[in-house]
């Protein structure tokens, strides 16, 4: 018994955590490694695509080569169809999302700040947010027809509730003492709301918008698959109908790139407006 105990003690003394670069937890990796991995992240799927599509294993009808897709992009760009599709989709996303942001930012902040408003509104929002936005399409078409209103409202509905609740949750992270200190400095409640809570959660608001912007992009495609004469979603459904796989790929890739660009734009906005919050 005693022997066993002392043996296990020796084992424990001999064990030390070996150093690592790749598997570091909660630490940064070297910058050079970081960039290599970022390049691999894009490069490997691209290579795989190139190899598989050129190997002849898959029919070109199902999987066009990167070059074919690139030339499709060029073709659609030169005919003016692609710029038009991008413009329409962007317009819908920006309209629907902005509308949702204009309402959800004050609403979420108010709900986070006042427990009374939270009790009043959280239950109903909690229910509605679980209703899938695409399920509203039939109703929206019934009410507003198949025009832009329906598409913009779909994005609006799909973004509004999640954004509101995420912003509401952000207010929880404002330390109670910061609010109380403001009172002892003579702040009225409205001043605490506008001059303490709002600036405090601004980085989180931008972050919530960044995350929910992705949802808006998903929904614009859904709305265009249903009824549209232009747009990136429309481009994809037309591609399917005429078996233009390369154009489906064009639609997908352009959506991905625009999404990434918007994401980076939000990060930049956050960095510029909230320097204090950057680590």
């Amino acid at each position: 018994m005693t022997n066993k105990l002392s043996k296990s003690k020796i084992d424990r003394e001999q064990k030390m955590l070996p150093p690592t670069v790749f598997w570091r937890i909660a630490e940064d990796i070297p910058k050079s490694l970081n960039w290599v991995l970022i390049c691999l992240s894009i490069g490997i799927p691209l290579c795989l695509w190139w190899i598989v599509s050129n190997s002849g294993l898959v029919k070109p009808l199902f999987l066009p080569t990167p070059l074919q897709v690139l030339s499709a992009i060029q073709r659609l760009w030169l005919t003016g169809e692609l710029p038009k599709d991008i413009a329409f989709s962007l317009f819908r996303v920006i309209s629907g999302f902005s509308l949702a942001a204009i309402i959800s930012i004050p609403l979420g902040t108010l709900m986070g700040t006042f427990a009374s408003l939270r009790a009043l509104l959280e239950p109903i929002i909690g229910i509605v947010r679980y209703m899938p936005a695409p399920a509203f399409i039939p109703l929206l078409i019934l009410y507003f027809g198949v025009g832009e209103t329906t598409k913009i409202l779909l994005i609006f509905i799909g973004t509004l509730f999640f954004n509101t609740l995420m912003i509401m949750d952000a207010v929880k992270f404002v330390p109670k003492e910061s609010i109380e200190t403001s009172y002892t400095l003579g702040a009225k409640r409205s001043q605490v709301l506008f001059q303490v809570i709002f600036p405090f959660i601004l980085p989180n608001i931008i972050d919530a918008c960044r995350v929910n912007m992705a949802a808006s992009w998903n929904l614009v495609i859904v709305s265009e698959l249903v009824a549209a004469t232009e747009g990136l979603g429309r481009r994809i459904s037309v591609g399917q109908r005429y078996l233009k796989t390369d154009e489906i790929f064009v639609g997908l890739i352009v959506i991905g790139i625009i999404g990434l660009a918007i994401d980076l734009l939000f990060r930049l906005l956050q960095h510029l407006s909230c320097r204090w919050a950057s680590r």
Partner: protein, 271 residues
């Protein structure tokens, strides 16, 4: 009479009925006095400060500041918490001027007063820095300056140096004493550090625990010009020992089995 607390009771509802946090608290603080309240955790000392600040309401009893009953927080009672409460998006200068801005003090006057208090706390060259660029001690100095800029009648401090390392803590205590002599501000400070209380204040309220009551009031007859060597003087040590004894009696009632260890542990070292 400056601050007067009379027959103050505070209880909190819990799942197992009400917990009495404070019972029959009577205390007073005169103009330009520096008073500390010491107590173990659970003595309700933070609750007491919050009630005076108006951040919480007493169950019964009343608090008067210059004869006016406290019904809520206001800039006449400045507060400094143990946790760092600077607004992270504001520069040091903007933090100090925030209370003045809230109260609508014109920009020019604000700038002057901010500059004055920046100088008082010795942070002029950090005026444009963000709080995250400051050390813990500097952050608390800004918090003190921010409270003082509103020219409160009394400064309430809830273990303001509790999160600081020992060396910084001593520097900050010296700084606070000097600030107090310089400005003549009235201070009520809560601490569990008996030495800190004796070193800083003119009077100490010793709180007992569960429920928190005022066990004893100790007036300190120490020179007003205090420095590091005072801590070693027999008078200082006697005061410290007296208060430690009071708190220990308290601990012995709560944990009788620990009495002997406590006695061994707390014998004062006079050398």
């Amino acid at each position: 009479m400056h601050l007067e607390v009379s027959q103050l009771h505070k209880q909190f509802p819990t799942k197992r009925g009400a917990t009495v946090a404070l019972e029959d608290i009577n205390l007073h603080i005169e103009e330009s006095e520096f008073v500390c309240a010491v107590g173990a955790s659970g003595s309700g000392k933070s609750t007491l400060l919050r009630l005076i600040a108006g951040l919480d309401t007493p169950t019964t009893g009343e608090i008067l500041v210059d004869g006016r009953r406290v019904i809520g927080p206001g800039p006449d009672r400045g507060m400094v918490f143990q946790s760092y409460t600077l607004y992270p998006w504001m520069s040091v200068a903007d933090n100090i001027g925030f209370g003045l801005k809230l109260q609508g003090v014109p920009k020019n006057e604000r700038r002057e007063r901010v500059a004055y208090y920046l100088e008082v706390v010795g942070l002029l060259q950090f005026a444009r820095s963000l709080p995250k660029e400051l050390s813990g001690g500097m952050k608390q100095r800004v918090a003190i300056a921010r409270a003082l800029a509103c020219q409160p009648k009394i400064l309430l401090m809830d273990e303001p140096f509790g999160a600081l390392d020992v060396q910084t803590k001593e520097t900050m205590q010296q700084f606070l004493l000097q600030l107090w002599r310089q400005t003549g501000i009235t201070i009520l400070m809560i601490t569990h550090d008996v030495e800190e209380a004796v070193f800083l204040s003119q009077r100490v309220y010793v709180l007992s625990s569960r429920p928190g009551t005022i066990q004893r009031e100790v007036s300190l007859d120490l020179p007003s010009d205090r420095n590091y060597s005072l801590r070693r003087s027999p008078t200082f040590q006697n005061y410290k020992y007296e208060i430690v004894e009071l708190l220990r009696g308290e601990a012995a009632i709560l944990y009788p089995e620990a009495r002997e260890q406590l006695t061994d542990f707390c014998i004062p070292d006079n050398n």
